[in-house]
Amino acid sequence: MSVVLVDAGGTNIGSVRYALQRLGVDAALTADAATIRAADKVVLPGVGAAGPGMARLRELDLVELLRSLTQPVLGVCLGMQLLCAHSEEGDVACLGLIPAPVRRFTGAPGLRVPHMGWNRVTARREHPLLAGLGDDEQAYFVHSYAVPTGDWTLASSDYGEPFSAVIARDNFHGMQFHPERSAVVGAKLLKNFLDL
């Protein structure tokens, strides 16, 4: 199976790559359109801000390519947010593959922003991506912007308000947390993606 990591400048590319290696998959790091199109699975990692993330995808001329993919695609953290319609972060239009907005956490006493640390992930729907996810599993989150829950939500988490932890539409999937840094739970969910 060929898995590619889209090199859009995200700083977590190394960690996602190592996590896939631990699952026995050597994912190529690429920004080449033909290589991405030919892959069985495409992962879009990302750490940083939505504006620069989209700008980078445009620079690499990958926007239309990503929109046209038909194989399973996984966006991680910012990568997931880039799959959505629009981000409040810098007021930018994203790829529009999942019709969800990305909004800033409002914060409150006791609810520090960024939301940083291990939080519970609760399945809202049956989906092969969530196979084997227990009732009380936690994953590692680091983010200031989040996708509200909606039709696209496969699993949710809670930080003052419920928000989307895992989303999907057609062949496009996203995880707000970092599966590459979420110990056994993260490895299981990444494995599920590879098995889609």
Binding site: T11, N12, I13, G14, S15, Y18, A19, Q21, R22, V47, G48, A49, L78, G107, G110, R112, V113, P114, H115, M116, G117, W118, N119, R120, D136, Q138, Y140, F141, V142, H143, S144, D158, Y159, H178, E180, R181, S182, A183, V184, G186, A187
Partner: protein
């Protein structure tokens, strides 16, 4: 609900993990990867690696061990030590670190925090603050604490610096209370509470953990998001699974770690 974090801190010197008492007299505790894996297995929520001699020696972190750790570790980790520029930070993040922590270099040039936040987002940027109470009763910042002969006492008040660091883009603050570091008599709850009142990003307590009660006090009394400790974990005086069960018993949300492989 977001869990509170237990964070073992590994001070790195010459490729090995060391530990000092009140930032002095370091002894070797073990190999980096070996200790990192042990803590991962025991249920540490995150790891922090300080290349403690990088800043006093005017160099950046040695990337080779960052990459080694990133390959085997599946929990988040933060790296600190002499990161003075966006390029140096990028190298450490690309080697696989999840966050970078800046301390002395941010005091040298505070705009570094703004630059890092703009380049990588605030969630990557941790500001470490070494703080000591002076004879006039004020907490003030210390610089270059990795090497006692180079440590400088600054005029800057700890809480002023903490406010400025957040304004500039710190996504997390680690407050090292040097007066209590390594002596295991408890976190400096007074200082942490004062910090909490002005800290709107995650706040991590550091310095002084000796007993499980100390962790409880930091979470309950000072409302910190995470507690960092070194010697009690390295020595085995406190085992992380037992510590987490104890804290859960006090109603503090913790991540449970299952035995499955």
């Amino acid at each position: 609900m977001l869990s509170r974090r237990i964070i073992p801190c590994l001070d790195v010197r010459d490729g090995q993990v060391v530990k000092g008492v009140r930032f002095r007299d370091h002894v070797v505790m073990g190999e980096i990867v070996e200790l990192a894996l042990r803590y991962r297995d025991e249920g540490a929520d995150e790891l922090v690696f300080y290349d403690i001699t990088a800043s006093p020696e005017g160099r950046s972190v040695d990337r080779a061990w960052v990459e080694k750790v990133a390959r085997v570790i599946d929990i988040p980790f933060c790296v600190a030590g002499g990161i003075r520029s966006v390029d140096e930070a990028r190298a450490v993040l690309h080697a696989g670190a999840d966050k970078i922590s800046v301390n002395s270099p941010a005091l040298e040039r505070p705009a570094l925090i703004d630059e890092l936040a703009a380049a990588f987002g605030v969630q990557c940027v941790v500001v470490g603050i070494d703080s000591l109470r002076d004879v006039d009763g004020e907490w003030r910042v210390r610089q270059y604490t990795g090497d006692p002969s180079k440590t400088k006492a600054l005029r800057r008040r700890t809480l002023d610096w903490m406010a400025e660091a957040q304004q500039r883009g710190a996504g997390e603050i680690v407050l090292n209370c040097m007066g209590s570091d390594g002596v295991r008599s408890g976190y400096d709850l007074e200082q942490l509470s004062a910090a909490r009142a002005i800290c709107h990003v995650p706040l991590i307590a550091s310095g002084g953990a000796g007993e499980p009660e100390h962790f409880r006090d930091a979470f309950v009394d000072a409302d910190v998001d995470g507690a960092l400790a070194a010697s009690v974990f390295h020595s085995g005086a406190i085992a992380i699974p037992a510590l987490k069960r104890y804290l859960q018993g006090w109603g503090i949300p913790m991540r449970e770690v299952r035995e499955e492989k």
